[in-house]
Protein backbone atom coordinates (compact mmCIF):
# COMPACT_ATOMS: atom_id res chain seq x y z
CA UNK A 1 0.00 0.00 0.00
CA UNK A 2 1.23 3.56 -0.69
CA UNK A 3 2.30 5.78 2.20
CA UNK A 4 -0.43 7.83 3.92
CA UNK A 5 1.17 11.08 2.74
CA UNK A 6 1.06 9.88 -0.86
CA UNK A 7 -2.62 8.94 -0.56
CA UNK A 8 -3.46 12.33 0.95
CA UNK A 9 -1.49 14.16 -1.74
CA UNK A 10 -3.32 12.23 -4.43
CA UNK A 11 -6.81 12.56 -2.95
CA UNK A 12 -6.85 15.93 -1.16
CA UNK A 13 -8.04 18.27 -3.91
CA UNK A 14 -10.81 15.90 -4.95
CA UNK A 15 -11.94 15.41 -1.33
CA UNK A 16 -11.91 19.16 -0.80
CA UNK A 17 -14.01 19.68 -3.94
CA UNK A 18 -16.56 17.09 -2.86
CA UNK A 19 -16.96 18.58 0.61
CA UNK A 20 -17.46 22.00 -1.02
CA UNK A 21 -20.08 20.57 -3.38
CA UNK A 22 -21.97 19.10 -0.43
CA UNK A 23 -21.74 22.37 1.53
CA UNK A 24 -23.02 24.35 -1.46
CA UNK A 25 -25.91 21.92 -2.02
CA UNK A 26 -26.96 22.21 1.65
CA UNK A 27 -26.78 26.02 1.37
CA UNK A 28 -28.96 25.83 -1.75
CA UNK A 29 -31.49 23.78 0.17
CA UNK A 30 -31.54 26.33 3.01
CA UNK A 31 -31.94 29.24 0.59
CA UNK A 32 -34.98 27.43 -0.79
CA UNK A 33 -36.50 27.42 2.70
CA UNK A 34 -34.83 24.42 4.30
CA UNK A 35 -35.63 20.70 4.04
CA UNK A 36 -39.29 19.68 4.35
CA UNK A 37 -39.84 18.44 7.89
CA UNK A 38 -41.61 15.31 6.72
CA UNK A 39 -38.85 14.21 4.32
CA UNK A 40 -36.46 11.75 5.96
CA UNK A 41 -33.74 12.07 3.34
CA UNK A 42 -31.97 15.07 4.87
CA UNK A 43 -31.86 13.20 8.18
CA UNK A 44 -30.11 10.36 6.33
CA UNK A 45 -27.65 12.85 4.86
CA UNK A 46 -26.87 14.20 8.34
CA UNK A 47 -26.31 10.67 9.66
CA UNK A 48 -24.00 9.98 6.72
CA UNK A 49 -22.04 13.17 7.34
CA UNK A 50 -21.63 12.09 10.97
CA UNK A 51 -20.07 8.83 9.74
CA UNK A 52 -17.53 10.80 7.70
CA UNK A 53 -16.37 12.60 10.82
CA UNK A 54 -15.74 9.44 12.82
CA UNK A 55 -12.15 8.26 13.14
CA UNK A 56 -11.22 4.70 12.26
CA UNK A 57 -11.79 2.35 15.16
CA UNK A 58 -8.64 0.74 16.54
CA UNK A 59 -7.92 -2.58 14.90
CA UNK A 60 -10.95 -2.37 12.61
CA UNK A 61 -10.90 -2.09 8.84
CA UNK A 62 -12.09 1.30 7.62
CA UNK A 63 -15.74 0.87 6.62
CA UNK A 64 -17.23 4.36 6.24
CA UNK A 65 -18.40 3.69 2.66
CA UNK A 66 -20.23 0.53 3.75
CA UNK A 67 -21.84 2.30 6.71
CA UNK A 68 -22.96 5.22 4.54
CA UNK A 69 -24.46 2.78 2.03
CA UNK A 70 -26.45 1.13 4.80
CA UNK A 71 -27.82 4.50 6.01
CA UNK A 72 -29.38 4.97 2.56
CA UNK A 73 -30.67 1.38 2.35
CA UNK A 74 -33.96 -0.27 3.25
CA UNK A 75 -33.49 -2.72 6.09
CA UNK A 76 -33.27 -6.41 5.29
CA UNK A 77 -36.23 -8.35 6.65
CA UNK A 78 -35.12 -11.94 7.21
CA UNK A 79 -38.79 -12.98 7.29
CA UNK A 80 -39.39 -11.58 3.79
CA UNK A 81 -40.67 -14.92 2.48
CA UNK A 82 -43.48 -14.90 5.02
CA UNK A 83 -44.14 -11.18 4.48
CA UNK A 84 -44.42 -11.60 0.70
CA UNK A 85 -45.97 -15.06 0.76
CA UNK A 86 -43.15 -16.67 -1.25
CA UNK A 87 -42.67 -20.33 -0.44
CA UNK A 88 -39.27 -22.02 -0.24
CA UNK A 89 -38.52 -24.44 -3.04
Amino acid sequence: MPAPQAVLDREFLEMRARVLELAAALDRLDRAGGPPASDPRVGSLRKAIDVLQQTKRDGAEPDRAERVQLIFSRQYDSAWRKTLGVLER
Binding site: M1, P2, E61, D63, A65, E66, Q69, L70, F72, S73, R74, Q75, Y76, D77, S78, W80, R81, L84, G85, V86, E88, R89
Partner: protein, 278 residues
Protein backbone atom coordinates in the same frame (compact mmCIF):
# COMPACT_ATOMS: atom_id res chain seq x y z
CA UNK B 1 -3.98 -4.63 -22.31
CA UNK B 2 -6.59 -7.09 -23.61
CA UNK B 3 -9.79 -7.17 -21.57
CA UNK B 4 -13.29 -8.62 -21.56
CA UNK B 5 -16.40 -6.65 -20.61
CA UNK B 6 -18.58 -9.25 -18.86
CA UNK B 7 -21.76 -7.14 -18.72
CA UNK B 8 -22.57 -4.68 -21.48
CA UNK B 9 -25.83 -4.09 -23.36
CA UNK B 10 -24.57 -3.68 -26.89
CA UNK B 11 -28.05 -3.67 -28.47
CA UNK B 12 -28.28 -0.17 -26.98
CA UNK B 13 -25.00 1.00 -28.47
CA UNK B 14 -24.06 2.15 -31.94
CA UNK B 15 -21.59 0.29 -34.13
CA UNK B 16 -18.99 2.99 -33.46
CA UNK B 17 -18.93 1.77 -29.85
CA UNK B 18 -17.86 -1.70 -30.98
CA UNK B 19 -15.04 -0.05 -32.90
CA UNK B 20 -14.05 2.05 -29.89
CA UNK B 21 -14.08 -1.00 -27.58
CA UNK B 22 -11.84 -2.86 -30.03
CA UNK B 23 -9.41 0.06 -30.11
CA UNK B 24 -9.31 0.10 -26.30
CA UNK B 25 -8.25 -3.55 -26.11
CA UNK B 26 -11.61 -5.24 -25.59
CA UNK B 27 -11.60 -8.72 -27.14
CA UNK B 28 -14.97 -10.05 -25.98
CA UNK B 29 -18.25 -8.84 -24.53
CA UNK B 30 -20.99 -10.68 -22.68
CA UNK B 31 -24.48 -9.25 -23.03
CA UNK B 32 -27.25 -10.20 -20.62
CA UNK B 33 -30.88 -9.80 -21.68
CA UNK B 34 -32.45 -6.77 -20.00
CA UNK B 35 -35.25 -4.21 -19.98
CA UNK B 36 -35.70 -2.28 -23.22
CA UNK B 37 -37.03 0.86 -21.51
CA UNK B 38 -40.61 -0.30 -22.04
CA UNK B 39 -42.50 -3.47 -21.16
CA UNK B 40 -42.73 -5.87 -24.09
CA UNK B 41 -46.18 -7.26 -24.72
CA UNK B 42 -45.72 -10.72 -26.18
CA UNK B 43 -43.50 -13.77 -26.06
CA UNK B 44 -42.71 -13.18 -29.74
CA UNK B 45 -41.26 -9.80 -28.80
CA UNK B 46 -38.75 -11.66 -26.62
CA UNK B 47 -38.14 -14.27 -29.31
CA UNK B 48 -37.13 -11.50 -31.70
CA UNK B 49 -34.92 -9.94 -29.01
CA UNK B 50 -33.17 -13.27 -28.41
CA UNK B 51 -32.60 -13.59 -32.16
CA UNK B 52 -30.97 -10.17 -32.12
CA UNK B 53 -28.76 -11.24 -29.19
CA UNK B 54 -27.73 -14.54 -30.77
CA UNK B 55 -27.62 -13.64 -34.47
CA UNK B 56 -27.07 -9.98 -35.26
CA UNK B 57 -25.01 -8.77 -32.29
CA UNK B 58 -22.33 -11.48 -32.71
CA UNK B 59 -22.13 -10.52 -36.38
CA UNK B 60 -21.84 -6.78 -35.61
CA UNK B 61 -19.20 -7.47 -32.93
CA UNK B 62 -17.30 -9.64 -35.38
CA UNK B 63 -16.84 -6.72 -37.77
CA UNK B 64 -14.28 -5.45 -35.23
CA UNK B 65 -12.86 -8.86 -34.22
CA UNK B 66 -14.81 -8.79 -30.95
CA UNK B 67 -16.33 -12.02 -29.66
CA UNK B 68 -19.93 -11.67 -28.47
CA UNK B 69 -21.62 -13.84 -25.83
CA UNK B 70 -25.07 -13.55 -24.33
CA UNK B 71 -27.46 -14.53 -21.52
CA UNK B 72 -31.22 -14.99 -21.82
CA UNK B 73 -34.16 -14.25 -19.52
CA UNK B 74 -37.08 -11.96 -18.86
CA UNK B 75 -35.81 -9.20 -16.60
CA UNK B 76 -37.12 -8.29 -13.16
CA UNK B 77 -38.94 -5.15 -14.27
CA UNK B 78 -41.14 -7.19 -16.61
CA UNK B 79 -41.54 -10.02 -14.10
CA UNK B 80 -44.59 -8.30 -12.63
CA UNK B 81 -46.44 -9.84 -15.58
CA UNK B 82 -46.37 -13.43 -14.33
CA UNK B 83 -48.16 -15.05 -17.25
CA UNK B 84 -45.91 -13.43 -19.88
CA UNK B 85 -42.84 -14.25 -17.79
CA UNK B 86 -43.79 -17.91 -17.72
CA UNK B 87 -44.31 -17.96 -21.48
CA UNK B 88 -40.84 -16.47 -21.95
CA UNK B 89 -39.24 -18.94 -19.54
CA UNK B 90 -40.86 -21.83 -21.46
CA UNK B 91 -39.51 -20.37 -24.72
CA UNK B 92 -35.88 -19.76 -23.58
CA UNK B 93 -34.71 -23.39 -24.14
CA UNK B 94 -35.22 -22.86 -27.90
CA UNK B 95 -32.07 -20.69 -27.75
CA UNK B 96 -29.90 -22.32 -25.09
CA UNK B 97 -27.85 -24.41 -27.49
CA UNK B 98 -27.08 -21.56 -29.86
CA UNK B 99 -23.41 -20.56 -30.11
CA UNK B 100 -22.40 -17.90 -27.63
CA UNK B 101 -25.23 -18.42 -25.15
CA UNK B 102 -23.64 -18.57 -21.68
CA UNK B 103 -26.70 -19.11 -19.52
CA UNK B 104 -29.66 -17.47 -17.79
CA UNK B 105 -29.44 -13.74 -17.05
CA UNK B 106 -29.63 -11.08 -15.99
CA UNK B 107 -32.31 -12.33 -13.65
CA UNK B 108 -32.84 -10.77 -10.26
CA UNK B 109 -34.97 -8.28 -8.38
CA UNK B 110 -35.85 -4.65 -9.00
CA UNK B 111 -38.25 -3.49 -6.28
CA UNK B 112 -38.03 -6.72 -4.28
CA UNK B 113 -41.68 -7.70 -4.85
CA UNK B 114 -43.51 -11.00 -4.56
CA UNK B 115 -43.90 -11.44 -8.33
CA UNK B 116 -40.23 -10.62 -8.97
CA UNK B 117 -39.26 -13.26 -6.39
CA UNK B 118 -41.54 -15.89 -7.92
CA UNK B 119 -40.17 -15.35 -11.43
CA UNK B 120 -36.60 -15.27 -10.10
CA UNK B 121 -37.17 -18.70 -8.50
CA UNK B 122 -38.63 -20.04 -11.74
CA UNK B 123 -35.57 -18.85 -13.66
CA UNK B 124 -33.35 -20.61 -11.09
CA UNK B 125 -35.36 -23.76 -11.63
CA UNK B 126 -34.83 -23.53 -15.40
CA UNK B 127 -31.09 -22.98 -14.92
CA UNK B 128 -30.82 -25.94 -12.57
CA UNK B 129 -32.76 -28.25 -14.89
CA UNK B 130 -30.75 -27.23 -17.97
CA UNK B 131 -27.39 -26.98 -16.16
CA UNK B 132 -26.91 -23.35 -17.20
CA UNK B 133 -24.76 -20.71 -15.56
CA UNK B 134 -26.54 -17.74 -13.99
CA UNK B 135 -25.93 -13.99 -14.15
CA UNK B 136 -27.81 -11.91 -11.58
CA UNK B 137 -28.91 -8.27 -11.46
CA UNK B 138 -29.17 -6.77 -7.99
CA UNK B 139 -31.41 -3.74 -7.37
CA UNK B 140 -30.09 -0.21 -7.17
CA UNK B 141 -29.95 2.49 -4.52
CA UNK B 142 -32.08 1.95 -1.39
CA UNK B 143 -33.31 -1.46 -2.58
CA UNK B 144 -29.88 -2.99 -3.18
CA UNK B 145 -29.10 -4.19 0.34
CA UNK B 146 -32.44 -5.86 0.97
CA UNK B 147 -32.71 -7.21 -2.59
CA UNK B 148 -29.22 -8.69 -2.60
CA UNK B 149 -29.89 -10.46 0.70
CA UNK B 150 -33.19 -11.83 -0.64
CA UNK B 151 -31.39 -13.07 -3.77
CA UNK B 152 -28.70 -14.76 -1.68
CA UNK B 153 -31.41 -16.39 0.45
CA UNK B 154 -33.05 -17.86 -2.65
CA UNK B 155 -29.77 -18.98 -4.20
CA UNK B 156 -28.52 -20.61 -1.00
CA UNK B 157 -31.86 -22.40 -0.46
CA UNK B 158 -31.48 -24.25 -3.77
CA UNK B 159 -29.03 -27.11 -3.22
CA UNK B 160 -28.89 -27.85 -6.96
CA UNK B 161 -26.94 -24.64 -7.70
CA UNK B 162 -23.16 -24.59 -7.91
CA UNK B 163 -22.18 -21.22 -6.42
CA UNK B 164 -19.03 -21.02 -8.54
CA UNK B 165 -21.23 -20.89 -11.65
CA UNK B 166 -23.27 -17.90 -10.47
CA UNK B 167 -22.29 -14.24 -10.96
CA UNK B 168 -23.99 -11.65 -8.73
CA UNK B 169 -23.63 -8.28 -10.42
CA UNK B 170 -23.72 -4.62 -9.36
CA UNK B 171 -22.16 -5.28 -5.94
CA UNK B 172 -21.14 -2.27 -3.88
CA UNK B 173 -19.47 -1.74 -0.52
CA UNK B 174 -22.44 -3.01 1.50
CA UNK B 175 -23.18 -6.10 -0.59
CA UNK B 176 -19.86 -7.46 -1.85
CA UNK B 177 -18.87 -9.33 1.31
CA UNK B 178 -21.92 -11.63 1.66
CA UNK B 179 -21.75 -12.44 -2.07
CA UNK B 180 -18.09 -13.50 -1.93
CA UNK B 181 -18.45 -15.22 1.45
CA UNK B 182 -21.16 -17.46 -0.02
CA UNK B 183 -18.81 -18.55 -2.83
CA UNK B 184 -20.43 -16.64 -5.69
CA UNK B 185 -18.67 -14.46 -8.25
CA UNK B 186 -19.17 -10.73 -7.77
CA UNK B 187 -19.38 -8.09 -10.48
CA UNK B 188 -18.70 -4.39 -9.96
CA UNK B 189 -20.58 -2.20 -12.41
CA UNK B 190 -18.98 1.15 -13.20
CA UNK B 191 -21.38 3.99 -13.88
CA UNK B 192 -21.02 7.74 -14.27
CA UNK B 193 -23.59 8.46 -11.53
CA UNK B 194 -25.73 5.93 -9.72
CA UNK B 195 -23.57 2.88 -9.16
CA UNK B 196 -19.93 2.18 -8.39
CA UNK B 197 -17.11 4.18 -10.01
CA UNK B 198 -13.56 3.12 -10.94
CA UNK B 199 -11.98 4.54 -7.78
CA UNK B 200 -14.38 2.71 -5.47
CA UNK B 201 -13.96 -0.46 -7.51
CA UNK B 202 -10.19 -0.27 -6.94
CA UNK B 203 -10.91 0.23 -3.23
CA UNK B 204 -12.89 -3.01 -3.22
CA UNK B 205 -10.08 -4.86 -5.01
CA UNK B 206 -7.69 -3.62 -2.32
CA UNK B 207 -10.07 -4.72 0.45
CA UNK B 208 -11.21 -8.10 -0.89
CA UNK B 209 -8.54 -9.20 -3.37
CA UNK B 210 -9.06 -10.32 -6.97
CA UNK B 211 -10.55 -13.77 -6.44
CA UNK B 212 -13.99 -14.21 -8.08
CA UNK B 213 -14.16 -10.48 -8.82
CA UNK B 214 -15.21 -8.99 -12.18
CA UNK B 215 -15.61 -5.44 -13.41
CA UNK B 216 -18.01 -4.26 -16.11
CA UNK B 217 -19.45 -1.15 -17.75
CA UNK B 218 -23.12 -2.18 -18.14
CA UNK B 219 -23.07 0.19 -21.16
CA UNK B 220 -26.82 0.42 -21.71
CA UNK B 221 -29.32 2.94 -23.14
CA UNK B 222 -29.10 5.22 -20.08
CA UNK B 223 -26.21 7.45 -19.00
CA UNK B 224 -23.32 4.97 -19.07
CA UNK B 225 -19.83 4.65 -20.44
CA UNK B 226 -18.97 1.59 -22.54
CA UNK B 227 -15.24 2.19 -21.95
CA UNK B 228 -15.54 2.18 -18.15
CA UNK B 229 -13.36 -0.94 -17.86
CA UNK B 230 -10.34 0.86 -19.39
CA UNK B 231 -11.05 3.64 -16.84
CA UNK B 232 -10.73 1.00 -14.12
CA UNK B 233 -7.49 -0.29 -15.66
CA UNK B 234 -6.05 3.24 -15.58
CA UNK B 235 -7.21 3.81 -11.99
CA UNK B 236 -5.48 0.56 -10.96
CA UNK B 237 -2.26 1.63 -12.69
CA UNK B 238 -2.30 5.10 -11.13
CA UNK B 239 -2.44 3.47 -7.71
CA UNK B 240 0.57 1.36 -8.56
CA UNK B 241 -1.06 -2.04 -8.91
CA UNK B 242 0.88 -4.55 -11.04
CA UNK B 243 -0.20 -5.40 -14.57
CA UNK B 244 -0.60 -9.05 -13.57
CA UNK B 245 -3.26 -8.13 -10.99
CA UNK B 246 -5.11 -5.89 -13.44
CA UNK B 247 -5.00 -8.54 -16.15
CA UNK B 248 -6.36 -11.13 -13.76
CA UNK B 249 -9.44 -9.03 -12.99
CA UNK B 250 -10.26 -7.75 -16.48
CA UNK B 251 -9.22 -10.77 -18.58
CA UNK B 252 -8.37 -13.96 -16.73
CA UNK B 253 -11.28 -13.86 -14.27
CA UNK B 254 -13.95 -13.48 -16.97
CA UNK B 255 -12.30 -16.33 -18.89
CA UNK B 256 -12.34 -18.54 -15.79
CA UNK B 257 -15.99 -17.82 -15.06
CA UNK B 258 -17.27 -18.06 -18.64
CA UNK B 259 -15.28 -21.22 -19.36
CA UNK B 260 -17.78 -23.09 -17.22
CA UNK B 261 -20.44 -22.54 -19.92
CA UNK B 262 -20.70 -25.02 -22.78
CA UNK B 263 -21.54 -22.08 -25.08
CA UNK B 264 -18.22 -20.35 -24.44
CA UNK B 265 -15.95 -21.10 -27.37
CA UNK B 266 -13.30 -18.42 -26.99
CA UNK B 267 -10.46 -17.69 -29.41
CA UNK B 268 -7.66 -15.93 -27.50
CA UNK B 269 -6.38 -12.83 -29.29
CA UNK B 270 -2.89 -14.34 -29.51
CA UNK B 271 -4.35 -17.15 -31.61
CA UNK B 272 -6.18 -14.60 -33.76
CA UNK B 273 -2.85 -12.94 -34.48
CA UNK B 274 -1.44 -16.27 -35.61
CA UNK B 275 -4.40 -16.91 -37.86
CA UNK B 276 -4.10 -13.44 -39.41
CA UNK B 277 -0.47 -14.03 -40.20
CA UNK B 278 -1.14 -17.29 -42.00
Amino acid sequence: MYYIDPHIHMVSRVTDDYEMLAKMGCVAVSEPAFWAGFDRGTVDGFRDYFRQLTEFEPKRAGWYRLQHYTWLCINAKEAENISLSREVIRMIPEFLDRPGVLGIGEIGLNKNTRNESIIFLEHLDLAAKTNEQILIHTPHLEDKHQGTRMILDMLCDDARLDHSRVLVDHVEEHTIRPVLDAGFWAGMTLYPVSKCNPQRAVDMVEMYGPERLLVNSAGDWGPSKPTAVPDFILAMRLRGHPESLIRRIVYENPLEFFSQSRGFQFTPPEVSETLSAE
